[in-house]
Amino acid sequence: MGSLCSRQRHNQAGSEENEQTAEIERRIEQETKAEKHIQKLLLLGAGDSGKSTIFKQIKLLFQSGFDEAELKGYIPVIHANIYQTIKILYDGSKELSQSLEDSSKFVISDENKEIGDKFSEIGGRLNYPRLTKELAHEIETLWRDSAIQETYVRGNELQLPDCAHYFMENLQRLSDADYVPTKEDVLYARVRTTGVVEIQFSPVGENKKSGEVYRLFDVGGQKNERRKWIHLFEGVSAVIFCAAISEYDQTLFEDDNTNRMMETKELFEWVLKQPCFEKTSFLLFLNKFDLFEKKVLKVPLNVCGWYKDYQPVSTGKQEIEHAYEFVKKKFEELYFQSAAPDRVDRVFKIYRTTALDQKLVKKTFKLVDETLRRRNLFEAGLL
């Protein structure tokens, strides 16, 4: 009797376990099914191409954005950017003042030299001090020095981050004791992405939910991090490749001798040829258009080897459009030359973006969503 009872209890316990296991298996199956409906988007591109900014924008647009704690989390990054910027500018001015041409205009005024040296030292540390009002004031004084301004103009020769001007002009606000970064500040904040970050979101259309669920992955961009991307390549619906078109006169962070545009070109080619992307849609974001617009009228496109056959046709807005079309055509040419003939039915679209402009990113993403949805309908045979 006793043994019967205990066996029953044992059976009961056994069946409970079975139930649990069954439940877990059911959950796994459900989630795997759900996974299949999640469209994976992979953000690729060279370092500094704006991938992370796009990532942040998506977070701001289609998720709950950043709460106060997250915003405040960016303060050290922003302050670091400031120290890095001023160090690059100061060291840069010293370097340029030793070159042969116009060296005098890069010489820092005597009263600012001490400040300069101080920040050159701080900028080289592993840990930066908190940005106080006094420090901010000193940085501002240095920033206003004409030698630094002249150096800023030659920023493309140094590794000056794009956020330089924005942060330098907002030093007062950024050094407030109770400073909470704005969304814009966060978008400008520059930190090198290591590893992989992902977010899941659903683009909210006019009728609230469009139904599509996307998972966006952002990976590190510098050369030494590319091996980390490989395991992500499987099953991706679309690659969003970011290319900063304003970089045609800049060199790599990791390698001062390589032109950034050429690096982007090589990377794009490499990505296009990957066998795992046979059926993947390619969405090319020609990013940093706002910087491109300003630069193209001052720095001719043909300083970059890839663009050496460029001929300007006019001035002003027309010239900007013409230059942009030229760059666009170069990428198109590259795409069709690198794509194997059997891949010619892949979706390939080019978008003009300025990752920092939230409205534009939203518009762009709506177009991306439309294209991907049409593609799905097409593949399901419904179009």
Partner: protein
């Protein structure tokens, strides 16, 4: 009036049994059947004295005007005409209203407005004029740009294609960003939309100040070739090939067309195209053979020669002309190699056929020259045997 109306449902009693057209002067025979006067009089003049529908012999050759039917016909058509006129005016009003809306709305509302405008414009020529007169073209053109969604772009193209565009509006549409959005729609669209895009681009190409760079685009050419190759939608072949022909006429773009692999694709298509399309495809291949890359690509393609040989004397004289020209280009490029292949494919017999046919003298001359070129590598006897001439000689 009858011609202006475009009706499918004319009541059968108004239709003449002989011509199947509405009767304008109905007359009744003694059998009670009614016909159009001129038609039945013609029937009589040919010597018949029967009623065409009942086959009865007529006992009385008088024809009586059927005034009742005439009156009814006239009334029915007049009513229809008035209705049409009213709808047309309504359409004009509606078109005007829709244009006004278009200036104000965005998002889904914009798409719906465009869809309705497209329907109105497609069905009423008066509406088309209204749209053009009220600056609709500029408005629609302004909707095309780097941020144009597919839904908007496809409707805009569908509307523009129905309107007569001024020189100025065509120049405006040639702006790179606008052309890009049309090309995007061409890439992504349904077959009807693709055909619309093709037609729109053709219209732009007719403009005298047309700039070649507008069509000098990988994306456009690849999209066009995709349309031409689409086996599921053969109705796209002719428009696609037509545009390809227009583009290939521009010298500067020929290299680009070759570089996207158009030549092997066209060659592969020829067996499945209808004769009209084959002629255009051959025209394009012929034009492409005038550039070095084209000649090379034709030579590199293993089925160029067999396909061309097969086409000689098969379809139209034009096709034979193009095929000959292509064969000539390829054989001239590497005579030994190609004449071998050509002769093996039965070229000689075909050429003799051309020479002996009723084709133009120029064509015969070409055929003779090609025959000579191919025979250079053989001794007479071997060549003869290769030609399989026995049947022809017979």
């Amino acid at each position: 009036m009858i011609e202006e109306l475009n009706l499918g449902e004319v009541p059968s009693v108004f239709i003449c049994p002989i011509s199947l057209e509405p009767m304008q002067d109905p007359v009744t025979l003694c059998t009670g059947q009614t016909y159009e006067r001129s038609n039945i009089m013609k029937w009589f003049s040919l010597g018949h004295y029967t009623c065409p529908t009942t086959m009865q012999e007529l006992w009385d050759d008088t024809v009586t005007p059927n005034t009742t039917l005439h009156h009814l016909t006239y009334t029915w058509f007049s009513q229809k005409y008035v209705q049409m006129k009213k709808r047309s005016e309504d359409a004009q009003g509606r078109a005007s209203e829709l244009l006004g809306n278009l200036k104000k709305v965005k998002g889904q509302a914009r798409i719906q407005t465009l869809k309705e405008l497209q329907r109105v414009v497609a069905n009423h020529s008066t509406a088309r004029k209204t749209v053009v007169d009220e600056g609709g073209v500029a408005l629609l053109s302004s909707l095309l740009g780097p941020f144009t969604s597919y839904s908007v772009g496809s409707e805009v193209v569908a509307i523009l294609v129905n309107l007569s565009l001024s020189s100025e509006s065509k120049m405006s549409l040639m702006q790179p960003a606008k052309v890009s959005s049309v090309v995007d729609v061409l890439n992504e669209g349904s077959i009807e939309t693709k055909i619309n895009c093709v037609r729109l681009i053709e219209t732009l190409m007719e403009e005298k100040d047309f700039r070649t760079e507008v069509v000098s685009s990988h994306s456009l050419l690849v999209a066009l070739m995709r349309l031409v190759r689409d086996k599921r939608h053969p109705n796209g072949h002719l428009p696609g090939l037509g545009l390809l022909r227009s583009i290939s006429a521009l010298k500067e773009v020929r290299g680009l067309i070759v570089s996207i692999g158009a030549i092997p694709q066209l060659l592969g298509l020829i067996p499945v195209l209808n004769p009209e399309c084959v002629e255009i495809a051959l025209f394009v291949l012929d034009v492409l053979s005038t550039v070095p890359e084209g000649k090379q690509a034709l030579k590199d393609c293993s089925n160029t020669i067999p396909t061309m040989v097969k086409l000689l004397m098969r379809i139209t004289e034009c096709c034979t002309d193009y095929a000959l020209s292509i064969l000539w280009s390829v054989c001239k490029l590497s005579p030994e190699e190609c004449s071998l292949t050509a002769v093996d494919a039965g070229l000689a017999a075909k050429l003799l056929l051309v020479i002996q046919s009723g084709c133009s003298p120029v064509l015969k001359q070409r055929a003779a020259e090609l025959l000579k070129l191919c025979s250079l590598n053989y001794s007479d006897t071997i060549f003869m045997s290769k030609c399989k001439l026995t049947r022809t000689i017979q």
